[in-house]
């Protein structure tokens, strides 16, 4: 077989693979957008779910719930995991750092439903109630290894000369780390944070055991609370057409949120490259 022909065949398979992969993505996105867009209306954003048998209503409690669960999870996990990431990078060779690093790696591989069960045992059971807070704790456990590892990698990528430049200006070590090195790694760290947000926005399994879902408003963070993925789950398997339609609408919103997070993080990366 001649060289040019081989080249052509190889090229053909590359294009074929790329087309299959992009087709799957476009198909899922397109289908959800199509189904969701036709089911979406103003009520969806401002009304609570209607009782079974009544048409209409919306998912405002689930939308707000999702943002609150993820928001509170971020409050816990972002500072904790960024500091952990900085520690891992600054004290690379310490024994304890190696233990932490391995633990995070294992934690990031734990199936999310197990984290849900774990938080059920740790928070829900002793408090005798499902709660938004328990959902946040579950999601923050998922976020911590993701953000900590990206932070570590991003801080590692900051050249030593940047750190030395900071030190050579007579700046204290901790200030060099927080105001200069972390600042230099900021785009990468932010990207990690956004991607972890995109990941947990869609998490369903850990919320089943923790925030549980709620057809009404949660009155405090200690109440069970609705979340978009939970609501989609319940509505999608329900035998009512109207609920199925709203499940599509929910999926539509969820996918938009996730895409926005991903696009913003891509832009951040490009801006500083």
């Amino acid at each position: 077989m001649n060289r040019k022909l081989k080249d052509k065949i190889f090229q053909f398979f590359i294009y074929l693979s790329v087309s299959i992969v992009s087709f799957v993505l476009l198909f899922i996105t397109g289908y959800v957008l199509y189904k969701g867009f036709s089911s979406i209306n103003l009520d969806f954003f401002i009304r609570l779910p209607k009782p079974v048998g009544e048409e209409g209503g919306g998912m405002v409690n689930a939308i707000v719930g999702s943002f609150m669960i993820v928001g509170i999870a971020s409050l816990f996990s972002i500072p904790l995991s960024i500091l952990t990431g900085v520690y891992l990078s600054e004290y690379k060779n310490e024994k304890f750092a190696n233990i932490v690093r391995s633990s995070l790696e294992i934690l990031s591989a734990v199936p999310s439903i197990i984290i849900g069960v774990f938080v059920y045992g740790l928070v829900v059971y002793p408090m005798k109630r499902f709660s938004l807070l328990a959902g946040s704790i579950a999601l923050s456990i998922i976020m911590i290894p993701l953000i900590a590892r990206t932070t570590e990698e991003m801080v590692n990528m900051v050249p030593t000369t940047i750190k030395e430049a900071g030190l050579s200006l007579g700046i204290k070590n901790w200030k060099v780390i927080f105001y200069i090195i972390l600042n230099t790694a900021k785009p990468g760290v932010l990207t990690g944070v956004l991607l972890s947000l995109a990941r947990v926005f869609g998490e369903t399994a850990p919320l089943l055991f923790t925030s549980f879902g709620n057809r009404f408003w949660h009155r405090s963070i200690l109440d069970p609370a609705a979340a978009l993925p939970l609501q989609i789950f319940v509505y999608a398997i329900a035998p009512y057409d109207d609920w199925n339609r709203q499940a599509w609408a929910g999926a539509f919103i969820l996918i938009i949120i996730v895409y926005i997070l991903i696009i913003v993080s891509r832009r951040l990366v490009l801006k500083y490259k």
Binding site: N93, P159, T161, I162, E164, A165, G166, L167, S168, L169, G170, I171, K172, K175, V176, Y179, I180, N183, T184, K186, P187, Y272
Partner: protein
Amino acid sequence: MEKVKIKIENLSAWYGEHQVLKNVSFDIYENKVTAIIGPSGCGKSTFIRCINRLHEVIPQAKVAGKIYIDNKNIYDPDVDPMEIRKKVGMVFQQPNPFPTMTIYENVIIGLKLNGFKDKNKLNEIAIQALNEAGLYEEVKNKLDSLATKLSGGQQQRLCIARALALRPEIILFDEPCSALDPISTAKIEDTIIKLKQNHTVIIVTHNLQQAARVADYTAFLFLGELIEYGPTNSLFTAPKMKKTEEYIRGVFG
């Protein structure tokens, strides 16, 4: 008579078990440019990194001996390395401006993180430092753009300005032009010569012409030892040591 600014006494330095400087002793004079020359790996960079106590930040790095700046040993236990580093500025081999900061922020960051808050004064110092580094005219209309948008030579002059903003008495240059084109190199050499009016300058270089152009005194290091030190002119034209002569003639290095 020249005034001694830095007195180096039996300075030795190690990376782990590997000794890179062996009992180096000599005096560096105030308001002069002193060049440190020698083949790669002979300890030139390590030497100047001892003068601002930056050598010790590398894990397992070790220093012995004394360095007196204005008659005070900077390795005395009561000396805060941060204070030394404010007094002894440094410009590195690769231009290393802080990439996520603007040109202006790069210049003032040292003062700012050392607790200096007066905005007007910061402004004034920033402009003065940029001027001294010969960069102000080129960047005065884009102080708010990212430092990484500048060319390599401009970035290096920004790093000089960043060091100057702290009003150091001594400035160390670690092969500042090795990554730059000849025109940028010439500009930086001009700056170095001007700086000696108010500063004591030490420059590591393996470009002998550069040493001849900018330096009043030159020290030749070889395998961690000081082989010869004296006025640049006599060291280049009438070296006393055979090693120095061979190095200058290009026999090795």
